[in-house]
Subunit: 710 residues, 2 copies
Amino acid sequence: MKISSSFHAQHSPMGAHSSFTVGMFGAEGGMALEKGGPADGGLHIGYRTESGKFYKLPFYKEAASEAERYSQSDAADQNGADVIFGEADIQRDYKWATDRFHAPGIEFTVCSPFFSIPDPASASADDLKFASCPVTFLELSVSNDSDERWEAFFALENRSTWMPMSGRGPYKGAVTRNQMGFACQEDFVDEFTHFDITKGLDMRPNGANFLLPPISGLAFDVEPGKTQTIRVVLAYYLAGEVTFNHAASYWYTKYFKSIDEVFKYAFSNQERYLAETAARDTELETSGLSEEQQFLIAHATRSYYGSSQWLDDGKPLWVVNEGEYLMINTLDLTVDMIFFELKFNPWTVRNVLEQFVDRYSYLDQVFSPEDPGTLYPGGISFSHDMGVGNHFSRPGNSCYECPGLDRKCFSYMTCEQLTNWILCAGVYLHKTGDVEFLSKHHELLLQCLESLLNRDHPEASQRNGLMSFESSRTDGGGEITTYDSLDHSLGQARGNVYLAGKCWASYLALEQLLGQLDEEEAATSARAGAVRCAMSLEAAYDESLGFIPAVLENNNQSAIIPAAEALVYPWQMGLKDAVDEEGPFGGYIRMLKRHLQNILNPEMCLYEDGGWKLSSSADNSWMSKISISQFVVREILGMSYDGEDRADAAHVSWQVKGSEFYACSDQFGAGKPIGSLYYPRIVANILWMDSNAMTTRPMPEESPSSHCTL
Amino acid sequence: MKISSSFHAQHSPMGAHSSFTVGMFGAEGGMALEKGGPADGGLHIGYRTESGKFYKLPFYKEAASEAERYSQSDAADQNGADVIFGEADIQRDYKWATDRFHAPGIEFTVCSPFFSIPDPASASADDLKFASCPVTFLELSVSNDSDERWEAFFALENRSTWMPMSGRGPYKGAVTRNQMGFACQEDFVDEFTHFDITKGLDMRPNGANFLLPPISGLAFDVEPGKTQTIRVVLAYYLAGEVTFNHAASYWYTKYFKSIDEVFKYAFSNQERYLAETAARDTELETSGLSEEQQFLIAHATRSYYGSSQWLDDGKPLWVVNEGEYLMINTLDLTVDMIFFELKFNPWTVRNVLEQFVDRYSYLDQVFSPEDPGTLYPGGISFSHDMGVGNHFSRPGNSCYECPGLDRKCFSYMTCEQLTNWILCAGVYLHKTGDVEFLSKHHELLLQCLESLLNRDHPEASQRNGLMSFESSRTDGGGEITTYDSLDHSLGQARGNVYLAGKCWASYLALEQLLGQLDEEEAATSARAGAVRCAMSLEAAYDESLGFIPAVLENNNQSAIIPAAEALVYPWQMGLKDAVDEEGPFGGYIRMLKRHLQNILNPEMCLYEDGGWKLSSSADNSWMSKISISQFVVREILGMSYDGEDRADAAHVSWQVKGSEFYACSDQFGAGKPIGSLYYPRIVANILWMDSNAMTTRPMPEESPSSHCTL
């Protein structure tokens, strides 16, 4: 499936909100802490022959302006110029946890181990230390098939000051601000720091005192006919309180008092980490998914960990930052990422849900858009997020939602966030059987039902299952959905069939949970809400259009794929009859199938390249949402359509070509990223690994109420 | 003297290494911590009329691209467009501690209080708290002479997250990362945060929950015919260890546990700070110096404090960072800045000198350039600096000096740094009479003499007073001087007449100090060194050239003003006979006068604009060094030359027009800054305030051995 080897990937420890970004040719990259995009440094890897000619990988910005030097090594050999390896020379193996580059004479490997983070409530300190250690592992192997000696080098460029490691411990390498750095324990390497590689190599072995230049690295000789290999550990370390308005530090600081301790532990436990890396690679390779699907999962996984932040505020505090936007635990991302989190770390889902309960829930009133001045009882909901850039917002408030906006970006998402919390709780409880969580939130679940009903209509007799009333928090404005940057008419929450699907699924979730709590009356009421919602939606199918319009207002005529998105929740809660076209909601399900059959075509909701266009009326598509809808279409609804085999390849191309700089991105227009860059949400595609229809491997029967293990 | 009101100034607390940079129209600026250049934010100040028209000061980058809107307010009034005030509308009063902008309807004042920092060894905690509090004071006054209500605003733009202050204390304003922010205690202001001012004002009074946008500010109404004034405190706060490889925290953290405490103290003590501000303004205004000279001193002073860093490593630790380069306590800057430091804070001079003794001195050997393989005894010297960017270099090593370089940038400055330490000690002791320092360093001063002699020639019989032997640290290369980026021939240390002058002055300093220590023999030896040096230099005057060439080697024919620079040291040590043309070194002094008389002309060492060109053969001039040489020429040598009245105006223009973005800069080529931007060293010009010849005010008799007071 090779499209190009030139694209950035984020290589990140779990929960350290840090990344080593590498892969795009001629681009900035390198190590960065808590940054919502690629580092602004560079990576210099290669070798210099004894006769003075350089061969380099192209992982630094200036390589782009030296483009004439991108050449097949054979051609360059003839004209004697230095060689910066390009597309023709570089092969890249991009696995779930391993990213390996091959070029003539060079093999460079980045290993990003990830695995189940054990629940801090029950796990041993040893296991938690192993899971939290903020490191990435590199290996550089140089094979000299010539008859002269080579000097191989590995160097990082960074605007901050590099302080050589020699003299402070057993390693060679460099750190900056005691926060970030690289180390190697091979005794045959020399450290250097300089403004360019040539001068750095020329200073060997006395290159370690110069602190002004931005390039710091390691150099070693490779004799003719020999292969020499070094292993390098990249480490991150932020000490002390890192968040504001609610103080927390990184969880790893419980076990590591300095970056030096991180290096030491990483080298001591290197083989264990590499075994985890290999296990993940194998797991994805044997998943039965296509090469394209495997790529998209691997790419998404890296971005997720790059945004993850495992903190300690006295208790464990799990945060996923919103990619480039750095918003803290955005709830409409959480609901899409739970499938991934429940596979690996179910405790993080509970952790985030309870942060919302404890600090980011609120009570509102509601009003009819026709009469904003008259307020009715509303109920509980949850803020869009918990803050931004390590700044926690005031309890009960997101950093995003502003009053006074009528269905525009930055308005409130009160109804959708309510459904998101309910759906997360429903899926979490089905997957984990965490009865303690269920009983603890007994009252809250009743409140959620009341709130959801009131947003339909405060008067029970007038309810139709859809959201019709706006939150008083909008101050007379109108709510939006997570599709906030779709055109104005689609971004609105009221009468939105995507959100209506989430309301339907939320009623079903509440029915299940309240039933388990023996709240028969409430469970019955929830069921009735689901029935009302499904009936309204089924009735809203427009025969003349051939689909259900996106918003049931103002003669809207947009067709949207996410009309069916919410089917994933009952499915993931084990409510398979609810999504069965012969089941109790068969009319609704059959309507959705007709809807999808009629819009999954190039005239409506497919791009020319076969990629999915979530709305017929907007050139704006979210990869995370596409992933879920693909699962709904293929696995849940068992549908196929003409040209479906082109979709995954198109989506790979969006990431590899379109988003080559920003690693894995979410929001695309015409195959180019237009927002939500460097984004964690795409891990929703982990759903595919749990799919009979999308893999060639038979799936085991689901075993509810047990943690997934690797 | 108005050239332009559009130039950046650094407004900085003392010792906080932080700046509020403002003044250049259409440029980035704002608050920044530990940055060697202007902040990359912006400042929005102005008012909106009730009918919706904006009047703004131009202190943000986009103002430049809206240049057509720079217009006199009268003209703009006619066409109805928003007004961004420009040169014609803005008057700027730039005093020693006050920077005030006047535009129609607006008066905006920045007060940067500075005063003598008391010696931590003896001062009270109260006085030290007052001196270390990291704040700057602003005042914004809006006078509405129209007949409609105005909304006035003050806002800062910053890439980091702004967290509103309301809810966390008695103030309105915003902070980012609890490290930096602004606060106001007027109760009639509203906070806002938004992507632009219009939307921010439109959110009043509910603008304080939105945390995503970069602009955060204060808004208030000004009724027709009224004037409304707010006072704003800017505060900085970096907690915990801020340096690496030698841990230290900011001194202010001893008294303030958070930025909130800083704000509280600043508001409580505001009048005391403003009284200090007014006192400094008056002191400079009544100095008798010209408007140009006053400007240059005021500009230099701000840059000095912006680079200053008062730390605590268990004891006080004084650091001056090297402007844009961020090198720590560069010794060849220290020697130029001591005149300023001795006026205000003599303890900082001793502090830095003893840091060099304790951690940044080293012993070397020396060699003749003709025979680099044969090493002779060298002696003690001091590293060029102590590290960079808060990273202390390894003891005994600078971050700058590299081995293996022959008289090129980044080579060693062993000889010059030795003279710099001696000269600092000499001037410090003369000004303070600190006998404890003298006796503590008794042995060291003997070592310094030996080392200085050995760098002339290891064999006493062959000495001529000039540096002829290179440090073994150069590894066979050659030393340079602080003029490292002059052309190769002038940057070299060996045979350099600028450095020879410093050697001569160092011998005189050692004679004085060793005499006070009753080291008669050594004092006599030092005197003999001075005599040898002066005789060699006097003899090196080239009658055919009409000056002494810069380097006494290889037929060098460059004329340099700094040949006479070192006269400032004996003068500042009270050794006025040594610089008297009728005194014991009269021949040397008369030679230097002839030298200067012949080169201070447009053919040699003056630019066309009358500014000084330090070398006839390089378009490269340092403002700090010019300041010293101006003092030498006018005050010490009592010289004048044709067109001397044009020099200061030219130098003002270099800063105001040439370096408009980088505030006060040091290194200029043809009136444009080419390095050493945002630089502290120019405070050497404080010498002028102590000059009979340069001021119109009679100077009091010098009173040695007493601290200067304000």
